[in-house]
Subunit: 300 residues, 2 copies
């Protein structure tokens, strides 16, 4: 049975202006669940998901309540709980009798990853320029700008090791659909005497999905988002890449805050495993799987 | 190998005035992790935990940020993420090489459970009398009063079915320590056409632990909290119950917002399985296990 890892974009699950846990989010999750239910037929399915908008909004909630600032490992774990629950519930409603399970996933990162001094991952809402300036001044935040405004950037260290891979494999072998790796996994780094400590960062969920896909011996990695393919001419998006090798894809030099990590995740998976990676729109999931939509990445 | 289910009280993990994710919470979790690591030696271990203080505080955060009110299923799932993550991380730091896994656990409740019109589960912070009066007026909240003040009461329907029991069994058989059933499980009820919907409630984590313990064929259920035993003379607490049958324990008529659910959970487990249940202080975990502290419940 084909084993596929699907990574769902956080932006496809919670759109600009929507609240975590709101009916709008549940509508988006229902669309995701429709696609996952279709993908699961006759396949062994692992689902990961992003949490960029959600983790930023929970950070703002914690702040609004006046408590001490929460770190992104804890906030990320909170989003994993909420998104994982809603996704599993919506998939269960569509696949009665199919065993489903959601694992909280911890991921080891290097304490000295250069990402900690060079943040690249956009989270939370979009701010207008003046508010971004004020936050840059008062908090030292860094920002990413696109046509919709300014978004806070946080460190996104490289995922080195997923602790729960054995559990994922066991559950897949027992025919479970497994949801894991939410928000890129909860990042921890080695402390003293073999202990682990939490890290104030958000791991890229596509790189995490590639690591999980490699670890469970997946045949295919599907990176599904709100953009329908990789384009040679981002952000104009007229010239779609239908097929590419990892080398061709990397040579496009796409930005770190956008398609960059998807391209790198797809390239790594294709290079290291000989499998196929697909990048495309959540609504086109089955077409991307079949190579009839999106961008298909393969080593040769 | 003995199989034991341990239920950790939410109040033992986050004490009055502490913030979720704060160093104070992590200190409490470290104490819990020390005890869990000791309990795990030579035993098959399942850990569940409460979330009463945490879920109430996340509800206040969501409110402070001015968004729409979140329901307790989603907020509970968020607390499961954060507590499950921190607990697993702290246990891993003490048990290098032991496979650990945390499952998000969904639990089915009846849509017409009488609990929905008769809330009994205290959550969140303690309020002074005037503030409780104001909230009763403005929100229709109900309250539980003890010596520390007033706490909001929410519905706590009876857990009927845990969806992830097969996964828990598989992982135990592969020698994993399994953390599951956080916050009493995330409550869902049957909707139309086999679908499930979230429910605005908090299931009692001790009743959930009893259901899990029965489902996985546990030999023992340990209910650990910040109180060192069941007392005949609550709240004076001079006359400790050392040993009791389910019938003796129930005849004490302990209050629903306090020891009541623990007594009922211990009694059910002992009656239905013939196993032993222990109720006691988190710091005395090994002593409660050995019957040298706390209250021990057995059918005969």
């Amino acid at each position: 049975m084909n084993r596929i890892v699907v990574a769902l974009g956080g932006n496809a699950l919670l759109r600009h202006g929507q609240d975590p846990g709101s009916p709008a989010e549940i509508d988006n999750l229902a669309i995701a669940a429709d696609n996952l239910a279709a993908l699961s037929v006759g396949r062994s399915l692992i689902v990961t998901h992003g949490n960029g908008p959600q983790v930023g909004l929970l950070a703002l909630r914690a702040e609004a309540a006046g408590g001490p600032p929460s770190t992104l490992d804890v906030l990320g774990a909170e989003t994993d709980g909420a998104i994982g629950y809603l996704l599993e519930r919506e998939v269960r409603s569509r696949l009665p009798g199919v065993p489903l399970v959601t694992l909280l996933t911890q991921v080891e990162v290097a304490a000295d990853d250069p990402a900690f001094t060079h943040p690249t991952k956009p989270i939370g809402p979009f701010y207008p320029a003046e508010q971004a300036d004020a936050l840059r001044e008062s908090r030292g935040w860094r920002f990413w700008e696109d046509s919709r405004g300014f978004r806070r950037l946080v460190p996104s260290p490289i995922p080195l090791r997923v602790f729960q891979l054995d559990a994922v494999r066991l559950l897949l072998e027992a025919d479970h659909v497994v949801i894991c790796g939410g928000g890129g996994g909860i990042p921890v780094a080695r402390g003293e005497h073999g202990s682990f400590r939490g890290v104030d960062a958000v791991v890229d969920k596509d790189l995490l999905a590639a690591l999980v896909a490699e670890g469970v011996g997946a045949d295919m990695l599907l990176l599904l988002t709100d953009v329908d393919a990789v384009y040679r001419d981002f952000p104009e998006c007229q010239d779609r890449v239908e097929r590419a090798t990892p080398q061709e894809l990397r040579s496009l030099g796409l930005p770190a805050g956008s398609m960059g990590p998807k391209v790198e995740a797809a390239a790594r998976f294709a290079e290291r495993t000989g499998g196929v990676a697909g990048i495309g729109c959540l609504d086109d999931a089955l077409l991307v799987l079949a190579g009839k939509a999106g961008t298909r990445v393969r080593s040769s």
